[in-house]
Symmetry: C2
Subunit: 407 residues, 2 copies
Amino acid sequence: MAVDAIRARSLPPEFIEQETTQRDRSRGQVTARLNAWHARLAASNPAADLENGERSGARLIIPGDAEWPTQLDQLGQSRPLGLWLHGSADLRFSCLKSVALVGARSATAYGTHIAAEFGVGLGESGWTVVSGGAFGVDSAAHRGALAAGSPTVVVLACGVDVCYPSSHDTLFAKIRGQGVIVSECPPGVHPTRARFLIRNRLIAALSRGTVVVEAALRSGALNTATHALALNRHLGAVPGPVTSRMSDGCHRLLRERKAVCVTSPEEVVDLVGVMGDDLVSQSRTPAVARDKLNEVTKRVLDAVPTRKGAGPASIAVAAGVNLSTALSALGGLAAAGYIERSADGWRLRKQTTSYRKAPDSAALEPPLIDADADPLQDPPFPDEDDLVHREHNLPIPDEGSSGSPTT
Amino acid sequence: MAVDAIRARSLPPEFIEQETTQRDRSRGQVTARLNAWHARLAASNPAADLENGERSGARLIIPGDAEWPTQLDQLGQSRPLGLWLHGSADLRFSCLKSVALVGARSATAYGTHIAAEFGVGLGESGWTVVSGGAFGVDSAAHRGALAAGSPTVVVLACGVDVCYPSSHDTLFAKIRGQGVIVSECPPGVHPTRARFLIRNRLIAALSRGTVVVEAALRSGALNTATHALALNRHLGAVPGPVTSRMSDGCHRLLRERKAVCVTSPEEVVDLVGVMGDDLVSQSRTPAVARDKLNEVTKRVLDAVPTRKGAGPASIAVAAGVNLSTALSALGGLAAAGYIERSADGWRLRKQTTSYRKAPDSAALEPPLIDADADPLQDPPFPDEDDLVHREHNLPIPDEGSSGSPTT
């Protein structure tokens, strides 16, 4: 090429040879990786993955789906292409108010006590606990949330159908009934060290803030903390006795002023909470007021049973709408927190039973519907504007169209 | 007065009456206080105080004395008029590199353990521990310093001849032999709650930084921390289990970002140390190199005995100088850390025995003597310039004059 010719004339011979060799070496490396990826591609079987996944009760979500948590988009190029989920809670709604509790696998009695206490406290305050499902701090945090009757989110480094650690099978089963298990890996994939580290970015990205409960200097929890900072999430750390090596990691974060010192669930909520919103609301209310739902969505909501679940088809019939309209509305209602999945389909979340009975408030002016507006505007995550809780609007789906709410 | 007349014309009658009453009330209060002070003045007996003090072995220092720590001047209007001292260590020199360790009287085993450990570690690193001589954290810190063979400074809220708490008589006796006891109160005065709080400002002001080892939310140690911040001193806090109410005060300081998280003596030295100086020097070397001393001062230094002390008069004779010259030089040598007090007078501090034997370095150029320069320029305290360790110069005292080194 012309550039090469010019450079060849100006550089000393041995220098040109060096450059050429380096370029060839890089080319060689890229070629080798491409070959490796081609081999993996040839060995993959997406159709089988989907079939296996759905047979086990899992579902796959991708950007644009109603359940896709938009905060994950802040990962930019490292955003996952999709996520496998298994559990009754809606991932997007659960993560609207969520905190990651992370820490050592080899936690001390102090660490597990604090993790459980924080899990309970946060759950009772309407905050979802996100963690990795590992021994120690993770497991204690999940159990605390479950005890408080709150959803909890487990982000695994293996397929959602692979139970790791294996002794957590009962815990994960409980979580599926009350929360949701998440993975970037297809069904059947086993965890590796690299996958644990990669998974940590999702824990940090899904939640509004991360709290390191107990961690030694080399703990993987500090890796999650680094992701949180990179994503401009809140970061807290719990101090401990300075005589305990297991608290060294937390103390370093405090000393370097990277993390805020938190000593109770209340202080965690102070850290991650949205002003005005958390000072008042203690319970998990839907993200959109019922009065703001349009007529069609209200009809679909009214058709969702209270106790046992019902499938989308029967709900569509009961509501007098076609199937695709029903699917749209159901996705939006789940993301807004009105309904949840059960073994038999969709049912109301406990919070909303009273909502159904309340009359529409005739005094409220229905808001102007902006057809181009983002149908689901979640409260912004710290990376975006000021932490102001914005109003939500759901669009009026066209009865004849097959469009799903886009984000 | 003219102003009153003008105001009388413009304000409504009842308003003027109110004002007058308020002014009279203030006048009344001031008069009452003046009377109280007059009464106390009439009852005081400075001559008797001086006599009692010196009989017990104490000494009084005032601003301008060689031993007056100049960092106290940063207290401005609340600078003490003078300080009573009792002990063999030179206060000014001891406080050049000093850290206040403060905390709860009702400390836990954790708190006393950490205080003692920090006392030992700081003492071994050549840092003087300053504290209040109380139960709990104070006493553990003093004991740690003593165990490390380091000086320690106790600032009391009562006369230096009053032992409070009384069970600390042995501790204070040890401290007098290796450190110094300090008080703003004359001999015989007993402690009161007010005097404890007032005393705290001296603990903060004397030292380069304060570390709160363990403190509940209402601990007096937080009062000392506040003084430290007001004086622009470094402030550190030691975290503990969040389950311990006795660490709540420390955690609040960390959370509010008022204090730096410190977990070891090394981290404390990092906090308060002078760059370049503390990374290298671990031992307590004199503040002025022997080569920089002028001839007369060197002669006086050479006349100071190693083990048993000698009085100023015999030192003057041995050095071939008059008494006032000897007193000047002795004051400066003590402040620079070459000599210390003992029961019998002055003797060399252990560190300097080797100095005496070393030959003068002929290669070094003697520094220019600036007669107007500050004779003792201590490394500046954080309130002043950058923490740069400046060179020291001692003046050439006039053989015939009776001047003492001024600050």
